[in-house]
């Protein structure tokens, strides 16, 4: 085991995959400036700075991916993806299908988002569900350094466009990463904590929120199971349904806004496929339908907190379930 931050885990995954496959390269605004270890090892042809023009960065990645390279592009902050929507959604996401399968797009788009730095709504917008709704794309949003490393490796090896969202607040959080860790498959959730009474489904930084809530609930005898989705598409439906079949209660927690968010999909999934297992209504704890504010107290109020998760669970669990 070695301890590293999320940012270092991403670089470590890039370095390992670039050693394995000479077609892997990375470019973006400041990539060569900031990831100087990669620049030193792999040179200026494979590690490139770009103009800060997200559209052409993403389009260049799509064109390169379709013709033999495996580009990784860093578009910095998730709201900047708006400038690259056409290239990600209309080109990388659709041209395989439109062409009758003539092309594939093995590319990775990196973007940061989430509360924690007070950067405000044009740098912080959890817009991951937009891309879940777009065909042809895969979406991952891990919560630990080990998962960032393992999922980045899978994202780079995948033959489809994969968006990797990195929660800003997690960027400098450290965690243990196995030195010889292999790729973690896309579409597999992780059960972070096993429990019998309620299922807490989350991803990215609010997984930690759910873990904190589970500890608080345990003190009062409520046994929560915490599922970290890690991938939003493909979605690990089995992991969710298996857990709800056991607990009969579901709270979905994410920072993104509620309307048409990932939580809505999970609630609908459980209603369709596990209705008879439910012993209480499904609840969602999410950010509001508002841009993310910069002011620290407002920014924190935007994000579901552990106390709110505890209160939501208590409203569902009149008494702890008996084994």
């Amino acid at each position: 085991m070695t301890t590293m931050t999320v940012n270092d885990a991403i670089s470590a995954a890039l370095a390992e995959e670039m050693r394995l496959d000479p077609t892997v390269m990375i470019f973006g605004e400041g990539v060569a400036t900031k990831r100087h270890d990669l620049l030193a090892e792999f040179g200026a042809a494979r590690v490139r700075n770009t103009p800060l023009a997200e559209g052409i960065i993403a389009g260049t990645a799509a064109g390169a991916a379709a013709t033999g390279l495996r580009p990784v592009v860093d578009l910095l902050f998730a709201p900047f993806l708006c400038y690259a929507m056409d290239e990600i959604v209309n080109s990388a996401g659709k041209l395989r299908y439109i062409s009758g399968g003539q092309f594939k797009f093995p590319m990775v788009v990196l973007a940061m988002t989430g509360a924690g730095w007070g950067v405000g709504a044009q740098h912080n917008h959890n817009n991951e569900s937009w891309f879940v709704h777009s065909p042809g794309l895969k979406i991952v949003m891990p919560s630990t350094p080990a998962d960032f490393k393992g999922l980045m490796k899978s994202a780079i090896r995948d033959d489809n466009p994969v968006l990797v969202f990195a929660d800003i607040a997690l960027g400098y959080s450290a965690g243990e990463v196995p030195e010889d860790a292999d790729a973690i498959p896309l579409g597999k959730a992780a059960v972070r904590r096993e429990g019998r009474d309620v299922t807490l489904v989350s991803y990215a930084k609010t997984v930690g929120t759910c873990m904190a809530a589970a500890d608080m609930l345990a003190a009062s005898g409520i046994d929560a199971e915490v599922i970290d989705l890690r991938s939003l598409k493909p979605l690990d439906e089995d992991a969710i349904l298996r857990s709800v079949a056991k607990t009969g209660r579901l709270v979905v927690v994410h920072e993104a806004s509620r309307l048409c968010g990932v939580g809505a999909e999970i609630a609908a999934l459980v209603a369709e496929k596990a209705f008879t297992s439910l012993r209480a209504p499904v609840l969602r704890l999410t950010g509001p339908d508002a841009p993310a504010p910069a002011s620290f107290p407002l920014e924190q109020a935007f994000v579901p907190q552990a106390e709110a998760v505890v209160a939501a669970v208590r409203s569902l669990v009149a008494e702890p379930a008996t084994a």
Binding site: T23, M25, A45, R46, R48, T50, P51, A53, G55, I56, A58, G59, T60, A61, A62, G63, A64, A65, A66, T67, G68, L69, P71, D86, E87, N90, S91, L95, R96, Y97, I98, S99, G100, G101, Q102, F103, K104, F105, P106, P135, G136, K138, D159, N160
Partner: protein, 318 residues
Amino acid sequence: MTIRPLDPVQALERMMLIRAYEETLIDLHGRGRAAGTCTSVGQEAPAVGVVSALTADDLILTNHRSAGHLLARGADPGRMLAEVMGKQDGYCGGKSGSLHISAKELGVVLTSTIVGGELALATGVGLSRTMLNKPGIVACFFGDGAATEGRFQESLNLAAVWKLPILYVCENNQWQAFVHRKETMLADGIAGQAAALGVESAVVDGNDPLAMFDAASTAIDTIRRTGKPFLLEAMTYRLRGHFEPDDQGYVDKAELAHWRDRDPILCLRARLEREGSLTAEAVAAIEARVRATMEAATAFADASPYPGLDALTTDVYA
């Protein structure tokens, strides 16, 4: 690299095939058998001139007005018609329709109908040529409308900075969907923007396939020698509407008449007849071959089945 000279009679025949293909589609649409299309009528010369100057290693990106580029590259008009009609034997299995036909086997890749989309993808295709040491260059066809998109500047800038082997070909057909380019830009053309980005450019008579071929050959030679991008602006005219059907009621009649007099097919034919290199019999023979080709193509497309409904969700993911 030496490029074979363009045989003007062969160029004429290829342009006539493109015209006949478009007229076939207009006819099929009129009879309710094909969707409306964005035709390349009037723009045959840049397609035949530029594509004839490319080698088999070179790749082509095009747009919604792509029939000329595909047919100039040797695409099968039967498979193109089948694609427009949504049939299984189309180049994209019927999932593209007319607007984004790619034919990877011919090096026509990543056709995008998003105006300017091809400009954003071309840099990536150029990048893979250089990173993978591939011999070919990339020809990217777009219009004056796409040049008003920000991606035009972004693409040329990155291609210049990264020294990408891209031949940008702007077919300035004077129309941006239903708006004349005089309403959307002050300059008569877009080539003037290239110099500011460090990209060499040339403006060519886009109704003369031989001039297009010569200019493209020179530009391609420059790209192969320097590794840098080059912009050709072909001054031409969209003789029909944005898409079929379109009564062109918004088009200035005198302007349309002026450009109809400059119809690239009629002009080349008259020139070759004047020079004595084309007889009336030869023209009749070309017309007969083109007619037979399009009849066979239509029969092929008619006979092709629609895709099975399982195709609805195939090829979404690799």
